[in-house]
């Protein structure tokens, strides 16, 4: 044994962001665009916000707006969620935390396998996900 680290997960990689969204129930429902595309509101109205990774409103919830992730110049994604969907469809900070959790799990598994580790995954009762890497 030698050290502990604590890391705050950042959404940077498009492929793992899509994998994380799939893990949260949006498999096959995620649009990916090289150029950011407009987001639409619940009445079909075009919003000022654009995004590269989009979940259209019909998949988000009742009377929902599009949910989007816009790539920033530094490579990180900005998350666009309407106030309504935060409040009534529960796409709030807790959901964003679970998205980062899913992203981290997917990315860590892939990186570890590339380096020859065997990976086991276990979901804990308190919501934590534990990965053990061995080689």
């Amino acid at each position: 044994m030698s050290h502990y680290s604590e890391v705050q997960i950042e959404l940077i990689d498009e492929g793992f962001l899509v994998a994380a969204l799939s893990r949260l129930g949006f498999k096959g429902k995620v649009e990916v665009h090289r150029e950011a595309q407009p987001l639409y509101g619940y009445q079909g109205d075009v919003r000022a916000q654009k995004a590269n990774v989009i979940i259209r409103r019909q998949h988000v919830g009742q009377a929902a707006n599009d949910l989007g992730f816009e790539r920033q110049p530094d490579g990180r994604y900005r998350v666009w969620v309407s106030d309504y969907d935060r409040k009534y469809n529960k796409y709030d900070d807790a959901w964003l935390g679970r998205l980062k959790q899913a992203y981290g799990v997917e990315k860590a598994k892939a990186e570890a396998k590339k380096r020859g580790y065997r990976v086991s995954e276990q979901k804990q009762e308190d919501g934590r996900i534990r990965l053990v890497l061995r080689r």
Partner: protein, 64 residues
């Protein structure tokens, strides 16, 4: 002792990493790829073994 890395992903987007079975800075070096892949390190705690000598494959001992 076999070497393993344990990651605990919390629902708030934080992850704790722990290296087991490594001597000296080998753990630090080995876990770096995960830190680079995941995000920003917010805290770091050395355990006793971090200060122990690292035995290399050729039998030489590197003091830490």
């Amino acid at each position: 002792m076999s070497q393993e890395i344990v990651l605990e992903f919390w629902e708030d987007g934080q992850v704790n990493l722990e290296g087991k079975g490594f001597k000296g800075q080998a753990c630090f070096k080995e876990m770096q790829f995960l830190k680079d892949a995941l995000g920003v390190e917010t805290s770091f705690t050395k355990k006793q073994e971090f200060y122990q000598a690292e035995v290399k494959r050729d039998g030489k001992v590197e003091a830490r």
